[in-house]
Amino acid sequence: MKEILEGSHAVAEAVRLCRPQVISAYPITPQTHIVEALAQIVADCRLKADYICVESEFSALSACLGAAAAGSRTYSATTAQGLAMMYEVCFNVAGMRQPIVMTIANRAMSAPLSIWNDQQDSVSLRDSGWIQLYAEDNQEALDLHILAYRVCEDHEILLPAMVCFDGFILSHTYEPVEMPEQEDVDSYLPAHRPYQILDSADPISFGMYATPDYYMEFRYENQRAMLRAKDAIKKYGALFGETFGRDYAGLIEGYHLEDAEIALVAMGSICGTVKDAIDEMRAEGRKVGLLKIRCYRPFPDEEIAEALSHVKTVAVLDKNISLGSKGAVALEIKDTLYGADIDVFGYIIGLGGRDIRKKDIRAVVDLAEKGSGDMFYGLREELL
């Protein structure tokens, strides 16, 4: 059924449909509406779950870890400073292979304090061992939660996942979304069957320490699970299409990419603006396309290399900056296309909630065509 919902509420309803048994979160802007809505859903008995009102994001994810280790499906949500506060737990959850799903309502990192959107928060956690999915719109944000649980709980995967969607731009925007039926979600996402749990009838030890003789193999197994997750996302993304009619079989998505000479690469809500700008440029006869990255971790390097193999120029739009280097996505695209005869330029854009308009996208394409790149786009020179 189609409903017009705020993005946060669409996500909360998606989480409800996934039937987590334990939810633990600490409110933080712009994630707040998600956890408020879920608290109400639990208070209204629309979901049978325990909602733990913790005292910090640190304890929110720690409580989820405990609940997951005890065998329950769990959920949390956060953003920016809250995610930073979870940093240590994020690595721990991934290392302990707990299939927790967490929404990130993407927001800029302080200082200076900003509540507005960019993707520095989750991009900074790219190395933590979590699957990272980025939504372009609220429908995708909703759907990716259901997909994420299906992937994470697969015994071949057993990894946590962040579903990232842009704070305010999506979280606080009303859009029509197709809300799945509970019975369809139940058939797509079976009841959680944990691999190993804390159980007094079958005691095992979780989270032991590993000497140099053992540590590296654990990390290797983590890496292998991450790489296996590529196929799992494709498989369950296709199954999602069969069940709900919206296909997520790809880790990436192309828009007018087949015959493009210049390709933009981006993640998240900016892709909608890019598509509109491409429509304009295409009408003018310019061969521009978009490669949208939906799955950032595991990084779809082979898929990207293939999808971009025919273009002359790539312009990567990064809503983050690896300070002292370049935009994180641009770096990886350069790595992926190393040796190919393709010019790759990176543009840092839209940090701290600065608007990105169609004319900005057009300007970036012009810059790339001129061979000018690896720069902050849209700086106010008078402030520097």
Partner: protein
């Protein structure tokens, strides 16, 4: 009735000979009985009991981080409730994880009154990293980060009163115990795990390596702490003091003089003034808890 002949903490772990914490844990698990899930923060206990692929735990056990054991336990308890399971959730962590870095999640778990028992084995310093002071280190103890020196008498602060802090959260049961009094310790653990809500026990667990005494004297040193009034074994029910172990008190010097961490109070010459400050702490404890016979 808990069968106290069953061992849930296996021999073969790697604790130092005479480790107070290892003995305390063995007794704690006897007191807690069957159907228990244990959470441990990072610390000596985790390190000496679980070098992968070995484990000393015969009950389900989980370690996540240094500072989140109470939050992890909260999640476990919540999950058990949702699944209709009745296992008891027990945290066993050191004083660093409890008194210092874990206070945030500990306070949160007690404010929410999860049905968990949190036990702090208090060896009065960060022992697995090399004997640095914690908030539970006693006044004047010399540690590697509160060393005695030509212008220092060691640790400048008294122990943080965590039992009082947690009692103030509305905890239904807060107790202190000593591994030198096994029957009392086991009984208190049994009481705590069978009391609904967030319960706390702080267990005095001498550390022969960190405090500087021979491993065979652990029980005796622990007893001296109680007999001098520097450690008081008591119970608080709903924030009200119910019982404190009475003693015929010995001078604190008897306890201090057998440990290297207080050696600077006696060498090169005996520092009467400083020892009197510590005696005053014991006297205040005795008055507060009414332990004098």
């Amino acid at each position: 009735m808990v069968d106290k002949t069953i061992e849930h903490f296996e021999c073969g772990h790697r604790a130092c000979g005479g480790c107070g914490a290892a003995t305390a844990v063995r007794l704690i698990l006897k007191g807690a009985g069957e159907d228990v899930i244990v959470v441990s923060p990072t610390g000596c206990l985790e390190v000496f009991s679980t070098p992968y692929p070995e484990t000393a735990w015969k009950v389900p056990w989980i370690h996540s981080l240094f500072e989140n054991a109470a939050a992890v336990a909260s999640g476990i308890e919540s999950a058990l409730k949702q699944q209709g399971r009745s296992e008891k959730v027990l945290v066993i962590g050191g004083d660093g994880a409890t008194v210092d870095i874990g206070m945030l999640s500990l306070s949160g778990a007690f404010e929410r009154n999860h049905n968990i028992t949190y036990i702090c084995y208090d060896n009065e310093a960060y022992m697995n990293t090399g004997i640095q002071r914690s908030g539970a280190t006693p006044f004047d103890a010399s540690t590697s980060t509160s060393p005695a020196g030509s212008c220092s008498m060691g640790n400048k602060h008294q122990k943080k009163d965590v039992p009082a802090i947690l009692a103030a959260h509305g905890s239904p049961y807060v107790a202190t115990a000593s591994m030198s009094y096994p029957a009392d310790l086991m009984k208190k653990v049994e009481t705590a795990v069978n009391t609904p809500g967030a319960c706390y026990i702080q267990v005095h667990a001498p550390c022969c390596t960190g405090w500087g005494f021979e491993g065979e004297k652990t029980i005796a040193v622990g007893k001296l702490a109680v007999e001098t009034g520097l450690w008081v074994n008591y119970e608080m029910v709903n924030g009200v003091l119910k019982k404190a172990k009475k003693v015929k008190r010995k001078p604190v010097e008897e306890y201090l003089s057998v440990q290297k961490r207080f050696r600077h109070l006696f060498k090169p010459e005996k520092n009467e003034a400083e020892i009197q400050k510590i005696q005053a702490i014991a006297d205040a404890n005795a008055e507060k808890f009414g332990i004098d016979i």
